[in-house]
Amino acid sequence: MSGESERGVLRPEEQERRRRSRSIAIALALAAMAVLFFITTIVRLGGNVADRTF
């Protein structure tokens, strides 16, 4: 079966490489989420930001 060869234990450097790419993906996703929340906040407040009375 083609999946069988994938099941073997990975070399340490390959594991390390995959862990690194996973970490990068998580970092990018978190950064994207922060940007998303920021932009959406601005969009939803819209012009009301300027209307605040102190």
Binding site: M1, S2, G3, E6, R7, V9, L10, P12, Q15, R18, R19, S21, R22, A25, M33, L36, F37, I39, T40, V43, R44
Partner: protein
């Protein structure tokens, strides 16, 4: 202890596979149609955020499904190469990933769009994972009918993202998907019977036989005809949709009839495969026509409830 037992061996691609990208594409498309047809307007950015949240929620449901179903997925040719049965992602990883994404998607949709839509998304994920995957899939022959309800909700979530309320009109889109799902999957299961039998999933052809399955497919195809008209009666769709739905549903019925008629030999498999392929085209076509109507400025028929008042 092997190195494998210590740390994860999954690549980013393995994790993405957990999200069931092909199911996601259908979810996004139908949610987008619901969002477009809903009365009122929403800032395009907020609309995009809503779609993204629904996309992540659908992916979460997929990951949780793959976590729970790894044992039966391993037994079926169609699913044996999924990341968990293949050993690329550990069950615990899939569970954690799915739970995290489910929580995140619902929280994001609630805070950034509205909480009614978020509640609907949470309910849909819960329904798909707990009610369908964990409880009923292995228990009843009606599994696909019930599971289909979860897959039918996205247009209503998209709609609610705009309106913030639950409307009967959006339910007509849900009903179209709900009635479409069983014949769609049963057509597939007709030529995958061996797979489901091996995994012990009580799919209709395994439990009741292929003849009964063909009969049920035909019954659902007959029901499709009036149900596909509902959006036009509820003030969601206009004449172009009504005409397209009539033609598309008639062809669906015709192909279902052939599936019922050619029940032996190679032509039986061919008929089932053709119905399965067409059913995808059918659903895509129906929802696409709804978008085309909006793009061309073809307004919906006045809702039937107007006649009553």
């Amino acid at each position: 202890m092997t190195a494998e037992a210590l740390g994860s061996t999954a690549s980013v691609g393995d994790y993405l596979q957990l999200l069931k990208p092909r199911v996601m594409s259908l979810v996004v498309f139908t949610a987008f149609v619901g969002l477009t047809l809903a009365p009122g307007s929403v800032h395009p950015w907020v609309a995009a955020v809503a779609i993204l949240c629904i996309l992540i929620g659908a992916g979460a449901a997929g990951a949780l499904n793959m976590w729970y179903d790894a044992d039966i997925d391993a037994l079926m040719a169609r699913t044996a190469l999924r990341p968990v049965p293949r050993g690329r992602v550990k069950p615990g990883e899939a569970l954690a990933f799915g739970l995290f994404l489910a929580g995140t998607s619902v929280f994001m949709l609630g805070t950034l769009v509205n909480w009614t839509a978020a509640a609907l998304l949470a309910f849909t994920i819960f329904f798909y994972v707990a009610i369908y995957t964990i409880w009923l899939k292995r228990l009843t022959v009606q599994n696909i009918v019930i599971g289909g309800a979860a897959g039918a909700f996205p247009p209503m979530i998209g709609w609610t993202a705009v309106t913030g309320s639950l409307d009967l009109a959006s339910l007509t889109l849900v009903l179209v998907l709900f009635v479409w799902t069983p014949p769609h999957f049963w057509a597939l299961s007709l030529y995958r019977t061996g797979d489901y039998a091996r995994a012990g999933v009580p799919m209709l052809p395994v439990v009741a036989g292929t003849e009964e399955t063909r009969r049920q497919i035909l019954i659902y195809s007959v029901v499709m005809l009036p149900v596909s008209m509902l959006p036009a009666l509820a003030g969601v769709a206009g004449w172009l949709y009504a005409a397209a739905a009539l033609v598309l549903s008639a062809v669906f019925l015709g192909l279902a009839y052939i599936v019922r008629r050619d029940h032996e030999g190679r032509s039986a498999n061919r008929a089932a495969k053709r119905l399965f392929t067409y059913s995808l085209f059918y659903l895509f076509g129906l929802f696409l026509v709804l978008l085309i109507e909006r793009a061309l400025g073809i307004g919906p028929f006045p809702p039937l409830t107007n006649l009553l008042s």
